[in-house]
């Protein structure tokens, strides 16, 4: 049971993120929602890599010990880097939108003509 807690956290993070993206009107909050989903997925990958009583996956001549899986760590790193790029791009678009419309409310922006 105790080892399942990270998975519950993953589901909670993703659901909270989806809630923010779907129901929030403020663009910054939508970006926060996407970041939450991303953190949930990253936590999921990291949790997958863990094995009970395992050490970091570095060989240091101590024979056979249980190590956590290295591949999900690599995936998570890549995913974090991509996530930073996406967040930066979204925030820069929000800056442009704010300059243009003077608001961050998605509904008000949708009502504008041009």
């Amino acid at each position: 049971m105790i080892y399942n807690i990270p998975y519950f956290a993953v589901v909670a993070l993703i659901l909270v993120g989806l809630y923010a993206v779907i129901f929030k009107r403020n663009l910054i909050k939508i970006v926060i929602g996407i970041s939450l989903i991303e953190s949930g997925v990253n936590l999921f990958l990291i949790t997958l890599a863990y094995r009970q009583d395992s050490t970091a996956p570095i060989y240091h001549g101590s024979g056979s010990r249980i190590m956590s899986l290295p591949v999900p760590h690599a995936l998570t790193l890549t995913s974090i880097v991509i996530g930073v790029a996406v967040t930066a791009l979204m925030l820069s678009l929000i800056i442009h939108l704010y300059r243009h419309y003077g608001t961050l409310d998605a509904r008000k922006i949708a009502e504008e003509e041009e």
Partner: protein, 542 residues
């Protein structure tokens, strides 16, 4: 450095050449604009040539594998084997998609020469275009699920920045924001599904996964997430609202490549359902009396239902638009519905194809698959041509509203001809390519359920009505005073439209040749998952 060496390394080069070109473009842009444009066209032309070499080899000799950092796709250490190397694999389907992507890419960069001439920041524009092309080819060629996700994100980021390229227009930025929200959520779904699959099978390689997939409860969730995430990016109905904005507000040259990126997501759906889950697609979910509810049936019904709604909404929304580009964008939504309709009916009748074990493509299911795959390239060309025409009109008149246009046929003769050909092709009229693929789809879906085929035909005719209305209001009528000085579009734009029109007419006049030489190998490759698995693993299954 003979031709064979080039072909061997071409899967890597097809991604590497545009990627390198993207990094060099800003430097070459310092010399002069003309040199930079020539450089970009040469880069894309070289990629096109490599795709041509690779595709002709794959159609002749079968699947090609390119393993990064080694000869074999698996690492053998002692007793155990690990399939952790990244590899590209090219079979008929990948080659087919690469052909579409390269045609769209080269038409787009030629068209950009004149169309984007008056904009500033073109170094960045071309850099992003080349990045988008590289990402698209990566998605098409890769044989590794995580790699697929990375290229998916490269494509999303580049295309989002390109949609929002006209940052002085608020609506373009808004469309870019919508696009990045939808596509990053879709990509995260895909990543989550990849995590689920990795946790069970310790592999990211598609062939290894396809070989060992067991179809547990978690796999069902992963399949749902993968199809949902990719369908979001393909613009199927509940998630289609980004598509009219993005297609309508982006520069026309960008829209042309975006169509390619959307098609690539459709390819992802095909690859996931038929290759990754091919072994287990017909497994029984529930036994009710004598009838067994199989997986493929449920998935197929869902996809067909969504596809029909997509067609209906896309075409009906197109009818009421007054903005030219937005109207074509809704027509594009409808056309994507046709592709998914064909895919859905293949999945429903998947049992027929694999029943005899010899991958029979002559039956209705095989016909639907061929029709769907043929329609992927036709949709890209037809909708692409219409967007280029809309771009040419915008370039000459600075108008996109249909209410403001009129009598343009008098000033823009070639553009008018291209538009007529595009509208006939989109509506599926006989001499054009759209007819060939839509006929295959009608015939095969009629056998699944006649009502589906009737809806498909009726809405295809409505699509003709949409564009005849456009033709009437934009091109016919008396010469308007405000358009007195309107000139024909510049040469580079005419060349790009001419190339696509030429391909449309050739495909329309000789559909049999195309189906036999390109479509059938692609259909065989996507349906024959067992030979995919054995070829990729080279017989050494871990």
């Amino acid at each position: 450095m003979n031709l064979e060496t080039v072909i061997t390394h071409s899967p890597a080069l097809i991604v590497a050449v545009p990627l390198l070109g993207a990094f060099l473009t800003p430097f070459i842009g310092k010399i002069s604009d003309k040199v930079r444009n020539v450089f970009v066209i040469l880069t894309v032309g070289l990629t096109f040539f490599l795709v041509y070499l690779l595709a002709s080899d794959v159609f002749a000799n079968g699947i090609r594998i390119y393993v990064f950092g080694g000869d074999s796709s698996v690492i053998v250490s002692g007793e155990s084997t690990f399939a952790i190397r990244i590899l590209f694999e090219v079979d008929g389907m990948n080659a087919f998609m690469a052909i579409i992507a390269s045609i769209l890419a080269i038409a787009s960069v030629i068209y950009s020469w004149a169309y984007m001439k008056e904009n500033t920041g073109l170094d960045k524009f071309y850099t992003l275009i080349l990045l988008l092309i590289a990402g698209m080819f990566g998605m098409i060629l890769t044989g590794d699920l995580f790699n697929f996700f990375v290229f998916l994100e490269i494509t999303s980021i580049a295309s989002c920045a390109l949609i929002a390229f006209w940052t002085n227009k608020g609506k373009s930025v808004d469309a870019g924001f919508k696009y990045i929200v939808i596509s990053s959520i879709g990509a995260l779904f895909v990543l989550f599904a990849i995590g689920i699959l990795y946790s069970q099978y310790n592999a990211l390689n598609m062939a290894v996964l396809a070989n060992s997939i067991q179809y547990t409860f978690l796999d069902k969730i992963a399949l749902g997430l993968l199809v949902a995430g990719l369908a979001m990016k393909a613009g199927i109905v509940p998630m289609h609202m980004w598509l009219p904005d993005a297609y309508g507000k982006a520069p026309s040259t960008v829209t042309l490549i975006l169509i390619g990126a959307t098609q690539t997501s459709i390819y992802g759906v095909l690859r996931v359902t038929f290759t990754l889950y091919g072994n287990q697609l017909t497994s029984t979910l529930k036994q009710i009396g004598n009838t067994s509810v199989t997986m493929n049936w449920i998935l197929g019904i869902i996809i067909v239902a969504l596809a029909l709604i997509t067609i209906v909404i896309g075409v009906l929304m197109a009818l009421k638009q007054t903005d030219f580009k937005r109207m074509i964008a809704f027509a594009a939504v409808g056309e994507i519905g046709y592709i998914f309709l064909a895919i859905g009916s293949v999945i429903i009748s998947y049992g027929q194809i694999i029943a005899n074990g010899n991958m029979d493509l002559t039956g209705p299911a095989g016909m639907a698959l061929q029709g769907g795959i043929f329609h992927i390239i036709n949709d890209a060309l037809d909708i692409g041509l219409l967007f280029l025409v809309a771009g040419a009109i915008y370039y000459s008149t600075k108008q996109t509203s249909l209410n403001e246009m009129g009598g343009l046929a008098r000033n823009m003769k070639y553009t008018t001809v291209f538009f007529i050909i595009g509208l006939l092709a989109v509506a599926g009229m006989p001499p054009m390519n759209g007819f060939a693929s839509k006929l295959l789809i009608y015939q095969s879906t009629y056998l699944v359920n006649p009502i589906i085929a009737i809806v498909a035909i009726v809405f295809s005719i409505l699509l003709l009505a949409v564009f005849v209305k456009v033709f009437h209001s934009a091109f016919l009528g008396p010469k308007l005073q405000k358009f007195k000085d309107v000139k024909e579009a510049p040469k580079s734009m005419l060349i790009a439209m001419g190339v696509i029109t030429f391909i449309i007419i050739v495909f329309g006049l000789f559909p049999n040749l195309v189906v036999e030489n390109i479509i059938q190998p692609a259909a065989k490759a996507i349906i024959d998952h067992s030979s995919y698995i054995t070829t990729v693993m080279g017989g050494v299954l871990p």
